[in-house]
Amino acid sequence: MEHPEAGILDLLAQGSPEAIEFLYDRYGRIAFTVALRVLSDHAAAEDIVQEAFLSIWRRAMTYRPERGSLRNWICTIVRNRAIDRLRGESGRSRYELPFDEKPEEPDLSDTWTQVAAELGRQQIREALQQLPLEQRQTIELAYWSGLSQREIADNMRVPLGTVKGRARLALSKLRDVLQDREESWHTP
């Protein structure tokens, strides 16, 4: 079965305004939540969401459905723009892995979609709470603050290598929690 989001991307690529309306109704609130988390300013967050959705609209002609979860794509665009706004030009000097580093296996599996949908906010928070405090703080600072890795190290008063190690351990544990959840879908 084709993933339902693939159809919306096709509509978007064909320039259907209704596709953006549909996307905004589905993802506008999480997009605004992300922008507000980074900027802590309601008006600035709305500006970023508007910029992001118009960017999605204008870039849609070149977007490919196999690039992965649409929700994650939108959240990433919004977060990056919000951090750029927060940090100015310095926000643009960091590197992120490309979305489709493994295009032969797009991240659109029905199982994963169901796992992600099934995990409620409370369960995600519980998974984060299971992490040691310093690991959780490391990934939250990295993801939401726009600080560089060195600034995170300075902020937490630890060597840079410790920041790297904590980030790896935290994501590794979160990944394992999600994989356990995903495997449970395959267990009768």
Partner: protein
Amino acid sequence: MAHAMSCSEAEELIALAVLGVLETSSSGDIEHHLSTCSHCRETARGYRRATSILPASLEPAKPSRELRRRIMTEVYSSARTDRPHRLAPGALWRRLPQSRAFTVAAVAAGVAAIVLGVWGATHTPGAAQTFAVAATTNQPGAHGQLTYFPNSARAVLTVAGIDASSGSNAVNVVEIWLVPRNGAPVPAAFLTPIPQTSTWTAVIAGDLLAYKMVAATTEPVGGRPSPTGPEIFSVALPQS
């Protein structure tokens, strides 16, 4: 030149990269490693998934209705001037009551569309077509519409007034089926909720006019290859 990196080193850089804090000076090393190491590509995939749940941990915040109007005004305005896409005015008109904050701008856009001659799109073979949702006794309150875009062979289904938790299983999904004139129903999509509007939606791919109807059943999570649960609504499709 990129140095030979161990998987342990790579995993640390991958973690920083998916969190968006890896400095660009390290990108060559990690890209080189990922191009040759399937283990670390899988690690990157897992870390990306882990990172993707972070937004869902936040307490949801609500943007103003004005934001939706601002975005859609600009989108519809640029669609008229920049895009080859042609709006079906009938479909736009039907959407107006659902788009509460958008009404004033959409009316203006509709008038402009008529002036620009877009009205002719209703007579174009590729124009969007809309069909009504019919409730069943299992979910008598179900109502909504299916908008089909023949040029892209896609349809957007929007439904309200259903309770997907009914049935023998506490956790169900609403599975959408394409029902051919002859033969068994084909699984097409899952209905997903849009809490902001208390509606459910799905995008369906396929030449819908080759089918007799679209139907929905409640099924156990994960769906089924053929319908097993009660039918909760259907959409009759025209015979071509």
